[in-house]
Amino acid sequence: MLPECEGMSILIDEKTKVLIQGVTGHQGEFHTKAMLDFGTKVVAGVTPGKGGEKIHGVPVFETVKAAIEETGAETSGIFVPAPFVMDAAIEAMDAGVKTLVIITEHVPVQDAMKIVSLAERFGARIVGPNCPGLASPGKAKLGIIPNHIMKKGDVGVVSRSGTLTYEIVDSLTRAGIGQSTCVGIGGDRVSGTDFVDVLGMFQKDRQTKRIVIIGEIGGSAEEEAARYISDGVTKPVTAYIAGRSAPPGKRMGHAGAIISRGTGTAESKVNALKDAGVAIAETASDIVEIIERE
């Protein structure tokens, strides 16, 4: 069993100083506003060529290094277009950022592998790419999860999906079940953070009392999560796996959602999680019922 520690929510809270790379873009600007509204301490933005501007009162810098020197930002949200993500991520790590959340989708997988490999050497954590980001309701969020669907509480949510997560979080909130932190790990083949990493953090976090996993076909992250849960997650876990009816060999919207050479089926994931004692929701709406029954 893993020890519990003092943590209250994971990865982000009301004290986290956030920097947004690509802050002047359409998405960057829109979501910076939503993050500020949610209570996030967005202290800086970075867009090369736009230094000196302000976005919703947030100062824009030319480089990450300058932004950190001026504001002490420690965590970065990356909203730049896919061709520029690798450069943005390396710039942030080089400047000392230790947590990077990459929202951008369609990042080439070889760029993702290079970013993740460098992160190991820099001792940095990457969340994403192609993810909705993080949110600790009542404290702060970094990413694009809609503000109004969340409520502070004790359920830790970790997911490979975006909209499906919103739907499930919304139904939890409507049922009066709040969340400690919602973590979107992303739907790509190579992700910086996987279920196992987040499960470890939720197990240690004092605010989190139970965990919801939203998985999907492709890869083996859910099977690895099942093994990890058997080995030492003591909090109750509920899981939903999307893609039970997906045909093999087809990418179902997400780059990572593909059954290839017989691996990555929903059946294999559901069975592995069941064997680890995880409650399986047959449909997304069953998650609420399962938690209410507990």
Partner: protein, 368 residues
């Protein structure tokens, strides 16, 4: 994007990986710059073509001509054969296997080599497979090559060739943003030469912005899937008669799952993604119309994609296009009331729960 064997082999030649002598044919008279026997291979982006009659050995010109005649136009796994690769048949002493692929769990390129090739690598006994992970910033170092060559027990005569082939595969993998470069089998001839008898190269779709030369709709997808890719819409053709549209890949999959467990058969999977453009919604519906569904099940959870944006796109599609199928919709989230009001009186049945929408779609499709 799956490249055809002939496209992969063209890349192999650019990267110093030996391939058999060969010529291409799209039908019509053929002259071979090499002798018989030869192998005629259908160029389709799918596996299992050997079992489907897509590979034939021919011993003289008459056999070659009839093979070409019969194979052009053949259907293999839903792909019409338009191109044939005709190669000199290489006599092999031994068949090896080499590949570099993206390992999702280790988040690194994985090199796999075996002295047992020619079959699915999954069916090769584990103790006869060598695996090594490559740090993308470090690349393949000489010690890794020594380790692999030692493990395979390759003799002096072929170890130099093998080293060059692996380095070629790695450079190709990196330069072309491949997800997979596979040589199976890698043939060792009686004379000890190594030759790539087949090629399997899969290019990362997300890297196409830096590979203009590869931007095209490939035969790997049905043409509708190709059209969808050009529109930036995720679309997968399925076997059934009910179209499924939702916003977000996970939500679309979950909707398809619900439909299937409710007794419906998905005909097409369409993920709208996040959009604030009604025109994109309209184009998506018109694309769905080409798949000729009996009914469409629409599931929107509005956020970035607002419900009224979707409603306005749906109405535009009905006004402009020749759409003869009904849509049953579950619309929820940002601006849902506006959307439901807009859709009143149209052919779109909105404001249902997801369960009701699924039941309605199944009922319409079964013609009850």
């Amino acid at each position: 994007m799956n490249l055809l064997e002939m496209e992969g082999k063209r890349l192999f030649m650019d990267y110093g990986i030996p391939v058999p002598e060969g010529v291409l044919s799209r039908g019509g008279p053929v002259s071979l710059p090499f002798g018989f026997p030869a192998v005629v291979k259908a160029q389709v982006p799918t596996g299992g073509r050997g079992r489907a009659g897509g590979v034939r050995i021919v011993r003289d010109m008459a056999e070659l001509e009839s093979a070409v005649r019969e194979m052009i136009g053949m259907n293999i796994g839903g792909h019409a054969v338009t191109d044939l690769l005709i190669e000199r048949k290489v006599e092999s002493r031994k068949e090896l296997y080499v590949s570099i692929a993206v390992d999702r769990s280790k988040r690194k390129p994985l090199i796999i080599a075996s002295e047992v090739g020619g079959m699915d690598v999954e069916s090769v006994p584990e103790d006869r497979i060598i695996r090594d992970w490559i740090d993308p910033w470090v690349g393949i170092q000489p010690f890794m090559l020594r380790r692999i060559i030692l493990g395979l027990g390759l003799g002096k005569e072929s170890s130099g060739q093998f080293r060059a082939i692996i380095q070629g595969v790695w450079r190709l993998f990196q330069d072309m943003d491949a997800e997979l470069v596979e040589i199976n089998p890698l043939i060792m001839t009686d004379g000890g030469r190594l030759i790539a008898a087949d090629s399997k190269v899969v290019i990362d779709d997300d890297s196409l912005f830096r590979h203009e030369e590869l931007r095209r709709s490939t035969g790997e997808m049905t043409s509708l899937e190709g059209m969808a890719r050009d529109e930036g819409i995720a679309f997968v053709q399925l076997g059934g008669d009910i179209g499924v549209i939702a916003n977000g890949a996970g939500l679309t999959m979950a909707t398809l799952d619900l439909l299937t467990s409710g007794g419906g058969k998905g005909g097409a999977f369409l993920d709208l993604g996040g959009t604030d453009d009604p025109d994109k919604v309209k184009r998506a519906v018109l694309l769905m119309a080409k798949a000729k569904p009996k009914v469409v099940l629409l599931n929107i959870f509005g956020g970035i994609t607002k419900c009224d944006t979707v409603a306005s796109g749906l109405l535009q599609a009905y006004n402009e296009g020749d759409i003869d199928f009904p849509i049953v919709a579950r619309i929820k989230g940002v601006n849902e009331d506006e959307a439901v009001a807009m859709l009143k009186g149209s052919k779109i049945k909105a404001a249902l729960s997801l369960k009701e929408a699924v039941e309605a779609a199944v009922e319409i499709a079964s013609g009850v």
